[in-house]
């Protein structure tokens, strides 16, 4: 796998440095402990601070969502590896304006444990922290006998809506409640056409034959739920939507935000082919697509594939979705 990198051990450092330079109007970067991407004007007086983070390789998640109306800081770990507590603690301190800090954590053992330690340390320094765990991936059985559902593309919507709540001045309790509500109403399912290769690895994270696809893929090149023969896009969309719709469940007359998310290596034209069928199925079911978002937002390096996310919304959540946002990767209303 050829990559546009220099030293494989420095891809995260250099990527963050480039990001910081390109978006100096929006963010600044703390390099020690490495790395914390902070909103340029943080801490914003009176505002609850929002911190998220996780392994790198999912860009623009999370650093691309730092800015007005969304995150106050993002903590990028090593490639596909949760960050350690030190930078998470640093981020928490940098964004605390006295109103407390919310940690938005994707449900992976490593992320949960490292954020947990950081929250304990922050508390010891007198910062009020609440944590919301995102686990929107319906590909994984949520039971006592697994690590629980993974946090995948739905994370973007949790960050957007909680970010809007914080921006309008909600209290920490209230922002955390918004985040939990969004998480409880958002469901995602993904698939891959091709694997990804972490820069330090000599081989891809998994292999697929020329006629195979992986259904229920995670965002770290973890193997998925099942491996099937390649099918037309419309059939694949049906396969992804079915478990999503059943799970919440989504019902007739529901209003939803529909997110079609590319895994990194998928051309936009294919995302719109997927979107077309998803919108068609939802229309058939009488579900109202109130808002749409199509793009590669929560990725796995150069993996080819797509995930579909549905968020059930009411007027309040829709208002938070529509609220102005100005980050490197998401901008509207301002």
């Amino acid at each position: 796998m050829k990559k546009l990198i220099n030293d494989p051990t420095k891809t995260v450092d250099e990527g963050v440095a480039g990001f910081a330079a390109a978006h100096a109007d929006i963010v600044r970067v703390v390099v020690d402990p490495p790395f914390v991407v902070v909103r340029q004007d943080a801490p914003v007086p009176g505002k609850v601070g929002l911190v998220s983070g996780g392994g790198s390789g999912h860009e623009p998640l999370h650093a691309g969502f730092v800015g007005f109306g969304m995150l106050d800081a993002a903590v990028p770990g090593a490639m596909f590896t949760s960050p350690t507590p030190d930078p998470i603690l640093e981020a928490t301190k940098q964004v605390d304006a006295g109103a407390g800090v919310l940690h938005i954590v994707k449900n992976y053992t490593g992320d949960v444990l490292n954020f947990e330690t950081a929250a304990d340390l922050a508390l010891a320094e007198g910062i009020e922290v609440q944590t919301v765990i995102v686990d929107d991936d319906v590909a994984v059985k949520d039971s006592l006998y697994t690590a629980g559902r993974r946090g995948v593309a739905g994370t973007l919507l949790v960050e957007k809506l909680a970010g809007a709540a914080a921006q309008r001045g909600d209290s920490l309790d209230r922002v955390a409640e918004v985040a939990r509500t969004v998480n409880s109403r958002v469901r995602t399912m993904g698939m891959a056409l091709s694997p990804c290769t972490v820069p330090h690895a000599s081989e891809p994270s998994f292999t697929l034959a020329e006629d195979e696809v992986e259904i229920g893929i995670g965002i770290h090149g973890e193997p998925g739920r099942e491996r099937i023969a390649l099918e037309p896009a419309d059939r694949i969309v049906d396969r992804l939507l079915e478990p999503i719709l059943e799970d919440l469940p989504f019902a007739k007359r529901d209003r939803v935000v529909l997110l079609v998310n590319g895994m990194g290596g998928t051309p936009q034209s294919e995302l719109y082919i997927v979107y077309r069928r998803a919108a068609e199925v939802l229309a058939e079911r009488g579900i109202d697509v109130a808002r749409s978002l199509v793009g590669s937002y929560v990725t796995s390096l150069e993996m080819q594939g797509v995930s579909i996310t549905l968020l059930q919304v009411d007027d309040e959540l829709l208002g938070l979705y529509d609220a102005p946002v100005q980050t490197a990767a998401l901008r509207w209303g301002r």
Binding site: A78, T84, P85, G221
Partner: protein, 209 residues
């Protein structure tokens, strides 16, 4: 090599041996993680133990076992990340607390240290034996050390052998914790990477004692 307890010099030797072994077997650990995880376990531990080596140099020559273990703990916590970082970090932290300021560890103290380490992992990760995690190497190792009598070196040998068996025994299991739990039946037939790195650490302990 005599009947004396395990002192700070041994602890240091042990950790250096772990670092060397992790560096040597990095690809292998990552390959295990590729099969049922996210292909970074070897990389993660190698990053951590390279950092530990750097810090060890600055430590006093006469540091106690507990002081060495504490340094390992804080360094792993702040450099490894992922699941293994906090779990091994907690293990070494609890182990160092159990070691206290003893100048050397006899067999009983060793069992206390190993038990505290294992309990720390369980308290953080909530895994039970049979969940296909590093706990499946730690638990038989603790039991074997406890049963080995009062020769600290024999206890370490017993722990290393039991950890190796425990790691091998994860292969037929379905995972209930960690990333491999997403796979259901597809995890069967693969060894848990964390149980293998635990086995590596305890083998290095026995070999350097």
């Amino acid at each position: 090599m005599d009947g004396a307890g395990l002192d700070g010099a041994w602890t240091r030797r042990w950790i250096e041996a772990v670092a060397a072994e992790v560096a040597r077997r990095k690809q292998e650990l990552t390959a295990l993680d590729r099969a049922i995880g996210d292909a970074d376990h070897g990389e993660n531990l190698d990053r951590g133990f390279r950092a530990v080596l750097g810090k060890l140099e600055a430590l006093d020559d006469d540091a106690t076992p507990g002081a060495v273990l504490k340094l390992v703990a804080t360094t792993l916590i702040s450099t490894v990340g992922g699941a293994a970082g906090p779990l091994y970090g907690t293990a070494f932290l609890k182990g160092s607390m159990a070691a206290g300021d003893r100048a050397a560890l006899d067999a009983a103290a060793l069992v206390e240290v190993l038990t505290a380490a294992r309990d720390g992992i369980v308290a953080r990760g909530k895994a039970e034996p049979g969940d296909k995690t590093m706990v499946d190497a730690w638990t038989p190792a603790v039991d074997a050390a406890a049963a080995a009598g009062d020769d600290v070196r024999a206890a370490l040998q017993a722990a290393a052998a039991a950890a190796a068996e425990g790691a091998a025994a994860t292969e037929p299991l379905v995972a209930h914790k960690g990333r491999a739990s997403y796979l259901g039946e597809r995890a069967v037939g693969h060894r848990d990477p964390g149980s293998e790195s635990t086995s590596l650490m305890l083998r290095a302990a026995a070999d350097t004692a």
